[in-house]
C-alpha cells in the first residue's frame, strides 16, 4: 500500500508482524508497519468481525489497536517501533484469565 521515499536516513530495525520479521525505520509508528503489509488492517471488530485499519493516526479514532509485545488493545499509531517489537493483528477478544503484564 505504501512505499518509502529516499532521503529518510539509513538506520533500520526489525520488528515481527504476526510472527514474520519485517523492516522498519526509527521513528516509525507500529501503525505504519501494519499499513505496509497485507492484509493492511490492525484488528477485527468484536461486533461484526469486519477489519479495521489505522484511520486518523492521531490517537482519536481507536481503530489502530493491536497486540503489541503481547499486550492487547495497544494504539499502534501512538507506539513508536523498537528493535524486536512484536505486533499482532488483534482478531480475538482479550482474555482475562491469565496474569497481567507490567504496566
Amino acid at each position: 500500500m505504501f512505499k518509502r521515499l529516499p532521503g529518510m536516513g539509513k538506520d533500520t530495525l526489525t520488528v515481527y508482524l504476526d510472527g514474520a520479521a519485517v523492516t522498519a525505520r526509527p521513528g516509525d509508528c507500529a501503525a505504519s508497519v501494519l499499513l505496509r503489509h497485507a492484509p493492511y488492517f490492525a484488528r477485527r471488530s468484536p461486533l461484526s468481525g469486519r477489519p479495521r485499519a489505522p484511520f486518523c493516526m492521531m490517537g482519536v479514532c481507536m481503530d489502530c489497536a493491536a497486540v503489541v509485545d503481547g499486550v492487547p488493545s495497544t494504539l499502534t499509531c501512538q507506539t513508536v517501533v523498537r528493535e524486536g517489537m512484536t505486533i499482532e493483528r488483534q482478531v480475538t477478544l482479550p482474555a482475562v484469565d491469565k496474569g497481567g503484564s507490567d504496566v
Binding site: S73, T92, L93, P94, A95, D97, G99
Partner: protein, 384 residues
C-alpha cells in the same frame, strides 16, 4: 397552560415510576407520568442492573426473592427478557472474613431463607475461573444475576404506553396545590390533576414530598462505575466481596462492569455527579484482587450516578400519612433495580387501596421524618 386530567399522576420516569404506571394502567386506571428530563435519565439509566437478593437487608429479602422469580418471567410481563441472565451472584471472602459469611448464612437460615449457599475454596475456583487464591469461601445464590438497564427501560416504557400510560418528558413539577379531592401539579406549561399521585422522583423525591407538606430525610449518592472494552466470555456470577466495595460482572455486550458503591461527587446545582478518580482506583484494586488477569484490560468509560439514599439504606414504599392520595416509592440507595417487578404491583396496591401481602413496615415514610427518634432508623446491618 396545557391541562391534563388523570386518575394517577406519577412523578418520575425512572423504572419504579414506569413499573407503577404499568400496573395501574393494566388495572384500568388513567395514568400520566411526568418526567423532568427523559425516561431513565438518572439512576435507572446508570444502573449496574444487578438482580440480587444475596446479602440483602432482612427487610428486603422477601421482595427480592419474589422479584427474582418475576425476572425469570419478564417476557410474559413486558414482552421482553430485558437482557436478564441468571449466572448467579457470589460474595467472596478471604480467610479473615469467613466468619462474616457464616454469620450471614446463619441469619438467613434463622429467617427461613435457604437460597444463600455457603461455598468453599474449590467451588469458588470453579465458579470464577482465574480467581485469586486469596478468596477461600463465598456465599452463592444460583438463580439470579443481572439484566440490561436500557433494555429494561425500553421494555417497561413500551409496555406502559401500550397499556395506555401517557408519558410527558421535559416536565418538571414545580408546585403542588390541592383542589377539592384532587392534587394539582404545575410546571413547564402543564397543569395536571388527579386524586392519586405516586412520588417516584428518585434523588429528588424528598423535594417532591416537601411540596406535599411532608418531610422525609433523604441524601444523595454518587456511586461510580467503570465499563471496560469487550473481553473474552467469562462464565461467572456477579461478584461481590465481603468488606470491599466491588460489584463485578460481564454484560451481555461482553464488556466488564465494575461498581460497588464507591462515591464520586454530587453537584446539586448541576444536578449531576462527577467521578473522583482516586476513589475509583479502589474499585480497580478490588477487581484486580479478585481477578489479577484484568490488569491489561482497557477502561472505556466511567461515570458517577445520582441516586437517593436513606439513612438505613432501605427504600421508602408506602402511603403518605400527611398527604391523602400520595404514595411514595423511592430511596433504594443504589440497589433498587432488582426489586422492580415485585415492588411495582405493591405500589399499585397502595394506590388502589388493596392490601399488600408484603409487610411494608420497614419501608414506611414516617421513619425518616427528621424529628424521628434514633431507633426508627432500624437496627439491621446495612447492605452494600
Amino acid at each position: 397552560m396545557s391541562e391534563i386530567e388523570a386518575e394517577v399522576l406519577v412523578i418520575g420516569g425512572g423504572l419504579h415510576g414506569l413499573g407503577a404506571a404499568l400496573h395501574l394502567a393494566r388495572r384500568g386506571r388513567r395514568v400520566v407520568v411526568l418526567e423532568r428530563n427523559w425516561v431513565g435519565a438518572h439512576a435507572s439509566g446508570a444502573s449496574a442492573a444487578g438482580v440480587r437478593s444475596l446479602w440483602r437487608h432482612p427487610a428486603e429479602i422477601a421482595l427480592a426473592r419474589e422479584s427474582v422469580d418475576l425476572w425469570h418471567r419478564m417476557p410474559g410481563i413486558v414482552g421482553d427478557d430485558c437482557g436478564y441472565v441468571a449466572h448467579g451472584q457470589l460474595r467472596l471472602a478471604d480467610a479473615a472474613d469467613v466468619g462474616a459469611l457464616e454469620d450471614r448464612a446463619a441469619l438467613a437460615a434463622s429467617l427461613g431463607w435457604d437460597h444463600e449457599r455457603l461455598v468453599g475454596h474449590n467451588e469458588v475456583r470453579r465458579l470464577v475461573p482465574g480467581v485469586s487464591p486469596r478468596f477461600v469461601a463465598g456465599l452463592h445464590v444460583e438463580d439470579e444475576g443481572s439484566a440490561d438497564p436500557h433494555r429494561t427501560l425500553r421494555a417497561f416504557r413500551r409496555a406502559a404506553e401500550a397499556a395506555g400510560v401517557v408519558i410527558r418528558e421535559g416536565v418538571e413539577v414545580k408546585s403542588v396545590t390541592r383542589s377539592g379531592d384532587r392534587w394539582s401539579l404545575q410546571g413547564d406549561g402543564i397543569r395536571a390533576t388527579a386524586p392519586h399521585v405516586v412520588n417516584a422522583a428518585g434523588a429528588w423525591a424528598g423535594r417532591v414530598a416537601a411540596m406535599f407538606g411532608e418531610e422525609i430525610a433523604l441524601s444523595t449518592k454518587a456511586s461510580m462505575m467503570i465499563v471496560t472494552e469487550r473481553v473474552a466470555t467469562i462464565e461467572m456470577p456477579v461478584i461481590g466481596m465481603v468488606g470491599g466495595s466491588l460489584s463485578l460482572k460481564q454484560t451481555t455486550q461482553g464488556t466488564l462492569l465494575l461498581g460497588g458503591g464507591l462515591q464520586g461527587a454530587y453537584d446539586p446545582d448541576a444536578r449531576r455527579s462527577e467521578v473522583r478518580m482516586t476513589n475509583l482506583a479502589r474499585g480497580a484494586r478490588a477487581a484486580l484482587d479478585v481477578l489479577p488477569g484484568l490488569s491489561d484490560i482497557v477502561i472505556t468509560r466511567t461515570w458517577a450516578g445520582v441516586e437517593a439514599a436513606t439513612a438505613d439504606t432501605l427504600p421508602v414504599i408506602g402511603r403518605s400519612e400527611v398527604a391523602s392520595g400520595l404514595v411514595h416509592v423511592f430511596g433504594f440507595s443504589g440497589h433498587g433495580f432488582a426489586l422492580l417487578p415485585a415492588v411495582a404491583p405493591v405500589v399499585a396496591d397502595l394506590v388502589t387501596g388493596t392490601d399488600s401481602r408484603h409487610d411494608l413496615s420497614a419501608f414506611r415514610p414516617t421513619r425518616l421524618r427528621p424529628a424521628a427518634p434514633a431507633g426508627a432508623a432500624g437496627d439491621a446491618p446495612s447492605s452494600a
